[in-house]
């Protein structure tokens, strides 16, 4: 007597059986490499940022508009903060992209979450870049001596 195996009733199909055709693009490999390279650079940039802003002198108590103006009077700190902004945002965005791909199984959910992520990333990177490049020490409310 043969055994009849009922068809599976669950509608849920494990995502590993729904993968599309293999991509020939090296994007994922480049993203993996970028995480390692930017990670090392970010350790230097963020540790330097924390030491200069929170450890030396009066630490966090010294931070004010004048403190920021003093730092950005030096092009090295402008470049430092610009590099930190771009690398940290791209590193973080790629990390969250990976997490979305891992946990959002529905294609439309994944697309929506990543769309929101990319809009937020572009907004923050553009805003931060503009703030660094158009910084004005004599903006409204500034009490710096040169104003």
């Amino acid at each position: 007597m043969s055994v009849t195996i009922p068809a599976p009733r669950s509608q849920r199909i494990d995502p590993k059986y729904k993968r599309g055709p293999k991509s020939r693009s090296s994007f994922e490999m480049l993203a993996w490499l970028f995480m390692r390279l930017s990670g090392v650079a970010l350790i230097v940039l963020i540790f330097g940022h924390l030491i200069s802003n929170l450890i030396v002198g009066d630490g966090i108590n010294a931070i004010s508009f004048g403190f920021v103006a003093g730092k950005w009077a030096d092009p090295i700190w402008q470049f430092w903060d610009l590099a930190m902004l771009w690398l940290a945002m791209l590193h973080g965005t790629n990390g969250v992209r990976t997490i979305i791909n891992d946990y959002a199984e529905k294609h439309s959910t994944r697309a929506w979450l990543k769309g929101i992520l990319y809009v937020a990333t572009i907004f923050i990177v553009v805003l931060g870049t503009l703030v660094i490049f158009t910084f004005d020490p004599c903006v409204a409310g500034s009490t710096l001596p040169q104003c």
Binding site: L54, V96, A140
Partner: protein
């Protein structure tokens, strides 16, 4: 722990927990980064508005939050170096457990130094 998870090489062990820790700290740092760019952007709007927001960062309660944030950054940084060694160093996978203990020791030492400095500044000492 369920029967199915016992006896696997990865699940429930140091490798899995360091992976969980890396994800959680990464998301926390990213969310803070979004807020931190927005608050810094106030320097382009009004010096007093920026000073007002920064003064909230200088309160004791926020100092505890900043200490927690730096704890997350330090773990993510040191464990990230361990991940790079696991990927690129020939013996990396063999010593990944020992390297995690190295990460934790380094994390405790650097974090203790930071916490003492930052909290004594924020709570009014020197």
């Amino acid at each position: 722990m369920s029967k199915t998870s016992s006896g696997t090489l990865y699940r429930g062990h140091e490798g899995m927990w360091s992976w969980v820790g890396h994800r959680v700290t990464g998301v926390v740092i990213f969310l803070y980064l979004l807020v931190h760019v927005l608050d810094t952007a106030l320097v382009r709007v009004d010096a007093n508005a920026y000073n007002a927001v920064i003064s909230t960062y200088q309160t004791p309660w926020m100092a505890l939050g900043e200490t927690g944030l730096v704890a997350a950054i330090l773990f993510h940084a040191f464990n990230g170096l361990r991940l790079i060694l696991v990927d690129f160093w020939k013996q990396g996978t063999k010593y990944q457990r020992q390297m995690l203990w190295g990460v934790m020791i380094l994390w405790v030492v650097v974090f203790a130094g930071f916490a003492i400095r930052h909290l004594s500044l924020a709570f009014g000492g020197h």
